[in-house]
């Protein structure tokens, strides 16, 4: 059995394609892609922030203070426009980036003139920070007016607050930071890990089942004096190992790159969050994958040995991904929790458990249900695999 395992592994490691998918992709390519994406989006935001905006203003005479605020040559540039221009057109042909229309009733005497509505015309499709940048200026003016109105009325500070917002609904979160973040990160984790496991197991599975049939080495293997069960077990272990390794390498590489790339505050949050999750939880998360990988390996090997060729095997395996994504998706639906029946649903229970472990709210008793159901299913599938491997109809199709 180990003989078969080590030989398959050796062969696998000599294949550039496998190495690429198993190691290079998660280790280098993913971080590079994410890095580039992050860099580009940061550049875009920086650019939007520092861009000099061309603007037109109508009714400037009513609000000299705003006009004054806008006179910052490194941020805003005034373009003369007529009041009866079509704002939409001049924004579209990029004469101006935005148009500010100030109403007649604009005045610092709020109590007298009531609320003033300034209209900001701009193209809000796509990434831009026009609203934010103009709002900064308007907001500060608004506050000044508010203060002067309050002082005219002679209100003290608590009366002011009450007037601004008579009733405040305060959010008190009983979940600690770990639970809060765990819900978000923990929901993503199973997707990543389980899909990666499947992905990592798929190629070796095709190679050592259908591939062996296609190359004509299977028959020789079958008539060598070794039990069929051992051949199956050896192949099964290779596939499981490849799947688990792919997931492990990816997670480790993400953790490392995450630490390397994040800076300042971010690193503190990540580090704190990581520190809260105990080693035991990490180990458990990884252990969870073992039975899942076993299920995948058994199914993939059965498919692979049934297929006549590499191509056939790959087309059978394609839909596997959908079958796997559905139970993971179930785990993030509201009301689906790790108890009762759900703890027995394969893959769903594992994704739920991963989330719970990250959140730190794991009911460790449920581990029995999880491991129980997954082991039973994996065992049954493996038994089927052995049975399948003894069928002449399958082997000599």
């Amino acid at each position: 059995m180990w003989l078969v395992f080590f030989k398959e592994l050796k062969e696998l490691l000599r294949d550039r394609k496998t190495l690429f998918f198993m190691i290079a992709l998660p280790l280098l390519i993913f971080p590079v892609i994410f890095g580039i994406a992050g860099f580009v989006s940061k550049q875009a935001i920086d650019k939007a922030e520092s861009k000099i905006l061309n603007y037109g203003i109508v009714g400037a005479e009513y609000a000299p203070d705003i006009v004054e605020e806008l006179q910052q040559p490194d941020k805003f540039n005034l373009i003369d426009i007529a009041a009866d221009d079509d704002y939409k057109t001049i924004i579209r042909n990029e004469t101006v980036d935005f148009v500010l229309v100030i109403p007649e009733n604009y005045s610092n005497d709020v109590l007298q003139n009531g609320q003033a509505t300034i209209k900001l015309y701009f193209n809000d499709a796509g990434l831009n920070l026009v609203y934010r940048r103009v709002n900064e200026i308007v907001e500060s003016q608004s506050e000044l007016f508010q203060q002067s109105a309050f002082s005219t009325l002679g209100l003290n500070e608590s009366q002011q607050d009450a007037l601004i917002k008579p009733i405040e609904l305060e959010r008190v979160n009983t979940a600690d930071t770990r639970e809060n973040w765990g819900e978000k990160i923990g929901g993503m984790l199973p997707y990543l890990l389980i899909i990666l496991c499947l992905q990592g197991a798929m190629f070796p599975a095709t190679d050592i089942g259908a591939g062996e049939k296609e190359r004509g080495t299977l028959e020789t293997l079958l008539i060598s004096p070794i039990d069929r069960n051992k051949i199956v077990l050896g192949k099964f272990l290779t596939i499981s190992f490849a799947g688990a390794m792919t997931a492990l390498i990816t997670v480790v590489s993400m953790a490392i790159w995450g630490l390397v790339l994040s800076q300042g505050m971010a690193i503190q949050i990540v580090a704190d969050f990581m520190a809260q999750i105990g080693i035991l939880d990490f180990v458990l998360i990884f252990l969870m994958l073992v039975p899942v990988v076993a299920i995948f390996a058994a199914v993939l090997l059965s498919i692979s040995i049934y297929a006549k060729s590499f191509k056939e095997a790959q087309s059978y395996m394609g839909p596997m991904m959908i079958f796997v994504i559905v139970p993971i998706m179930l785990s993030i639906l509201p009301g689906v929790e790790l108890k009762g029946g759900w703890a027995w649903v394969p893959i769903t229970n594992v994704s739920l458990a991963m989330k719970e472990l990250v959140k730190g709210t794991m009911d460790y008793f449920q581990l029995f249900a999880i491991f129980g159901s997954t082991v039973v299913i994996a065992g049954a599938l493996f038994a089927f695999c052995v049975y399948w491997f003894n069928k002449e109809k399958v082997l000599f199709r």
């Binding site: 050796k10 004096p225 070794i226």
Partner: protein, 261 residues
């Protein structure tokens, strides 16, 4: 040495509609089963080379696969030096070396590793495997490419490695399923030399082929199979005596005898 008696094997037909016209006419198709091999018997003694002849689809490959334990016969018996192959397949496998024209190698392993792996599967010790590989490398002249990856080998090189792999455990019986089909002249010669060498060592060889000149040159015994039944089983001289002239006519005569029955 090896004795095969009344071997039979049927395959379930999954979808009778998919069969070709010719297959439907075949008398071996009975209901939902295709009786690929119905009654095959022959024997081969030490030092003998047996040629298995028959038209395409006669059941040669199925018969040889049953001998090599890849398939399980429905009835009949196979005995190798007194050992029942059907009840103890794993023991029997140690005594058999099997090679077919379509046998492949593990492309990402070197020639040496390919042979080594099968040595290990046969439970041989490391020293023994190393020693055996040296011997075979001398014999088949494989030193120049033994440690290169086999995916880049020429057909001849591949065939040499495949031969070495098949006999690494010094089998008592060698079974070859159309070993020369699809090979070029050089590679064919390698295979034929290899059979000669086995014959000289006294190892019995059973091989199926379509080349009657190979049979004439190498075989003591001839077995002809048609439609899953043994049509002729005897020594080469008797076979030649079936018809005046060439072996081709003898072959036709062997098939004719039963066709007229």
């Amino acid at each position: 040495m090896i004795e095969i008696k009344q071997l039979a094997k049927k395959f379930a037909v999954e979808n009778p509609k998919k069969l070709s016209e010719q297959e439907k006419k075949d008398p071996r198709l009975k209901g939902r089963f295709f009786h690929s091999v119905q009654d095959v018997s022959f024997s081969c003694q030490k030092g003998e080379v047996l040629g298995l002849l028959g038209p395409n689809g006669a059941g040669k490959t199925t018969t040889l696969r049953m001998l090599s334990t890849a398939l399980k016969p429905d009835s009949g018996s196979v005995e190798i030096s007194g050992e029942n192959v059907l009840t103890h397949p794993v023991i029997a496998r140690k005594k058999i070396g099997f090679l077919s024209g379509t046998t492949g190698l593990y492309g990402r392993l070197t020639g040496r590793e390919n042979i080594h792996y099968f040595g290990q599967l046969h439970g041989m010790s490391e020293e023994l495997i190393a020693q055996r590989i040296e011997e075979l490398a001398d014999l088949l002249d494989m030193h120049t490419f033994l440690d290169r990856r086999s995916e880049n080998f020429s057909t001849g090189m591949k065939q040499k490695i495949a031969i070495a792999r098949a006999v690494v455990h010094s089998p008592e019986l060698v079974i070859l399923d159309e070993p020369t089909t699809g090979l070029d002249i050089m590679a064919t010669q390698t295979v034929l030399n290899f059979i000669r060498r086995l014959k000289a060592q006294g190892t019995p060889v059973i091989f199926s082929t379509h080349h009657l000149d190979e049979v004439e040159e190498l075989c003591e015994k001839v077995t002809v199979i048609d439609q899953g039944k043994t049509m002729f089983d005897g020594d080469i001289d008797t076979f030649k005596g079936l018809a005046d002239g060439s072996l081709h006519q003898s072959f036709m005569a062997a098939i004719q005898t039963t066709a007229s029955e």
